[in-house]
């Protein structure tokens, strides 16, 4: 008896193994049969997948979360590739004397649950945001919202605010009063009703674990019936996205720059992004020797930004505009380019500052000029963010100019923390949003985030930044923004290194485009709901 049992142990395993294999093979055949999802579904791939429940408050505070939300909710005004277009508001007007905006609303709008949309919802939204704080924009700029009639809304501003149209009217999603009244913790309200908006798509499902979203077309959308019956977001790694596109599992996705040529030859449409992301060399301008603007200028001359783009980005990017804005930005000022690559100038400035070159490195008072450069790992970040490769190259460039550089790799958040607490010499960092409203300049020069240069020692720069916010005349504002870039470049509190080029590829079913100044406040993703309805 016993013998029998042990003999069967091996055989049992063998049989089980074979059965399992057969099952997997069968599973393969079965699954392939049903792989094609039908023509009316539009699938967008993303390497992260989960960006939170797509309500205005529950999605994660990142650009792709906003994108997922904007298909369901509408704003007063929207943007296409050229500029502002009507959305919930048919027309709008700025009343200079009252410092208020008046919006005339469409009368044919209904919420996804069939209720009529009226001015009351807009007033409710503004009041609700005042109480509950909206992440994407500072709502305190609106002091009062009134609805003189059912289809007119008047928003009174606290002060003249130039970014209002972009950062408020075209960013703040309008939520239905009948759903949200009484909701006290909006970020935890993830009922299906929390996704009721007026947008071209209706919420069907969201799966956190799989990182997938399913929306269906809203046939009653006032802007026209969407071209696709269903919109689907799925999670697929960037490395296999080209294969997913070729295998027709996906209709659109961001792709790595190196495959763009091949995909284009195979008939895919490629859209090249605006350069809304800037990689920066953060400089600790609170400690010597970096607190001296001349020293920072010497540093800027020693970094060959074109070489960084050519080598580390393999040409898929633009050298950083010294005034933070990318050369293809409508607000860009070429006068700000003060730092051609020139190690000789670096040497000249350093000598002027009392440094003497001994052997390979500069020295002062017997001490070698030595800086530590912090860099974070490969694991996270947007495509093209500066990592080890860029750090190695910058080090070799600075060493060539006679500045000794020690590299130190840190986990991403540790690096952010050290930069935030000014515990560094140099660090590699970067952020998006520079393609949005130029208000971003205030956030990344004066703001207190670790992404910001946090530089307020130039009175002129402070004044200019303040003025650009209240300059309601576009021409006047353009002049101020141009001047800001020049002064920034002169002060050089953080060196813009490059702007990576991002590519999206799609099969042409829906004509995707990049939005003027980005979706919402400036999200540089070419998924604009208008592409699906017109």
């Amino acid at each position: 008896m016993r013998r029998f049992r042990c003999v069967s142990a091996g055989r049992f395993l063998f049989v089980t193994g074979t059965l399992l294999l057969a099952l997997f093979a069968l599973a393969g055949c079965q699954a392939r049969k049903g792989a094609d999802g039908g023509g009316a579904v539009y699938t967008v791939a993303d390497p992260t997948g989960d960006w939170g429940f797509p309500s205005p408050f529950a999605h994660y505070p990142r650009g792709p979360g906003y994108i997922r939300m904007h298909f369901l909710f509408d704003t007063l005004v929207w943007k296409d590739e050229k500029g502002f277009v009507p959305a919930l508001a048919e027309s709008w007007q700025y009343l200079k004397d009252e410092n208020a905006y008046v919006f005339r609303l469409r009368k044919d709008v209904t919420w996804h649950d069939g209720r009529k949309f009226t001015a009351r919802d807009v007033v409710f939204t503004v009041d609700y945001l005042q109480k509950n704080r909206y992440q994407w924009t500072d709502v305190s700029i609106v002091t009062r919202a009134e609805a003189p009639d059912d289809y007119t809304v008047k928003l009174v501003l606290a002060r003249p605010h130039a970014p209002f149209m972009n950062n408020f009217a075209a960013t703040v999603p309008i939520i239905p009063e009948h759903v949200w009244q009484g909701v006290t913790q909006p970020e935890q309200f993830t009922d299906k009703r929390a996704a009721i908006g007026t947008g071209p798509f209706k919420f069907v499902d969201y799966n956190k674990e799989q990182g997938t979203y399913l929306y269906e077309a809203n046939p009653n959308y006032y802007g026209g019936r969407p071209k696709v019956a269903q919109l689907r977001f799925v999670k697929i790694n960037a490395e296999v996205v080209p294969a997913a596109l070729r295998q027709k599992q996906v209709n659109a996705a961001q792709v790595p720059p190196e495959v763009v040529g091949d995909l284009e030859k195979e008939g895919f449409t490629v859209i090249k992004g605006a350069h809304d992301w800037v990689a920066k060399l953060m400089i600790n301008h609170t400690r010597p020797p970096l607190d001296n603007p001349d020293f920072r200028r010497a540093l800027a001359h020693a970094v060959d930004r074109q070489a960084l783009v050519d080598t580390c980005l393999r040409g898929h990017g633009l050298p950083g505009g010294a005034g933070l804005l990318a050369p293809d930005n409508p607000w860009y000022n070429p006068q700000a380019e003060l730092y051609p690559y020139d190690p000789a100038t670096t040497a000249e400035i350093l000598t002027g500052l009392g440094y003497v070159k001994k052997g390979q490195y500069f020295e002062k008072d017997g001490r070698v000029l030595e800086l530590e450069l912090l860099v974070s790992g490969e694991g996270v970040g947007v495509p093209g963010s500066p990592r080890e490769r860029e750090a190695e190259m910058i080090r070799s460039q600075l060493e060539k100019a006679g500045i000794k550089v020690n590299l130190r790799g840190l986990e991403a958040k540790t690096l952010d923390q050290r930069v935030g607490e000014w515990k560094f010499d140099l660090a590699l960092s970067g952020h998006g949003g520079i393609g949005g409203d130029p208000e971003i300049l205030n956030r990344v020069i004066l703001g207190q985030s670790f992404l910001s240069a946090r530089y307020d020692r130039s009175g002129e720069l402070n004044e200019l930044l303040k003025r650009q916010l209240s300059a309601m005349d576009p021409g006047e504002r353009k002049g101020i923004v141009a001047r800001i870039q020049e002064v920034y470049a002169r002060e050089m509190p953080a060196l813009p290194l490059y702007h990576p080029t991002w590519y999206w590829t799609h099969d042409g079913k829906v004509n995707l485009f990049y939005t003027y100044q980005g979706v919402g406040t400036g999200v540089p993703i070419p998924l604009n709901k208008l592409a699906f309805v017109r």
């Binding site: 790992g377 790799g409 840190l410």
Partner: protein, 277 residues
């Protein structure tokens, strides 16, 4: 036990193969500057160039020579892998061994400590060490050894527990042999194969963990290692480059670990005179 380990090692095929491979790898690592026409960090300007006369294994995403990186990477990977595994094996033999031998409260203390340490995912100590200590090869080795030893200590302890009760040990105890005698004469030789297996596994895990550290970005980015090479190459698997960039370090790693395993395999014979033929 008077065994000439060396002679026996040389006698077995596996031992010879393992020895030759390990010597070869160490030789390659030492002679890296001679064997490679390029500096591993040099930007050659040719990006993603396929293998050819100029670059024997092609170039990577920033135009560095893959062959040169492979050779210099051997240095880091061997040093980190062997160093961490050796340290961890010593620690685990010491703690696991004594816990198994002494038993009682001491044993319980260490085993619960091991439990607590085991459940901490390696990422957390890695982040903490990276945040507070300046990274260097020694720190990396110490960190990896600290991550590795608890698991190994349990294997050693289990083996000791089992050995303690076996006939030779029991016999020796009846004859009034001291624990010292038993330890040297019976337990250590009997423990041999397990320690060897533990060491080989340690090398394996250490090398993998090192690759993981580079994924998190902890350490000196300028130090080339096979793990780091693979982590970089993984981002470009949509191109053909993985054939000459990802495969070589992967295969080299597999070869190295295989060589150590062969050595372990041969040593096992040496430790077990009974099984020698």
């Amino acid at each position: 036990m008077h065994v000439d380990y060396w002679a026996h090692l040389k006698q077995s095929n596996a031992g010879r193969a393992g020895l030759i491979l390990v010597c070869l790898l160490v030789g390659v690592a030492v002679l890296a500057p001679v064997l490679s026409p390029w500096n591993p960090g040099a930007y050659t300007g040719a990006i993603f160039s396929p293998p050819g006369r100029e670059h024997w294994l092609g170039t990577n995403d920033v135009g560095q020579d893959v062959w040169a990186q492979l050779l210099f990477g051997a240095r880091t990977s061997l040093a980190v892998g062997c160093g961490a595994a050796l340290l961890a094996t010593l620690l685990s033999a010491l703690i696991g061994g004594t816990a198994g031998l002494l038993g009682g409260l001491y044993d319980r203390f260490w085993m619960r400590a091991v439990d607590a340490l085991l459940v901490i995912p390696p990422v957390i100590p890695a982040i903490l060490v990276g945040a507070y200590l300046r990274p260097s090869l020694a720190v990396t080795v110490a960190l990896l050894a600290a991550i590795l030893w608890p698991g190994e200590a349990r294997v050693v302890r289990a083996q000791i527990l089992s050995l303690k009760e076996r006939a030779p040990v029991a016999a020796a105890r009846t004859f009034g042999a001291g624990w010292g005698h038993i330890l040297v004469r019976h337990l250590i030789p009997e423990l041999g194969p397990v320690l060897v297996a533990v060491f080989v596994q340690g090398v394996r895990r250490a090398v993998f963990l090192e690759a993981g550290l580079s994924f998190l970005g902890i350490g000196d980015p300028a130090v080339v290692s096979w793990g780091r090479m693979m982590q970089h190459a993984l981002r470009f698997t949509y191109l053909d480059v993985w054939k000459w960039w990802l495969l070589p370090p992967g295969l080299a790693l597999s070869l190295t670990l295989g060589a150590f395993a062969l050595l372990g395999f041969a040593l096992e014979t040496v430790f077990h005179p009974r099984l020698r033929r």
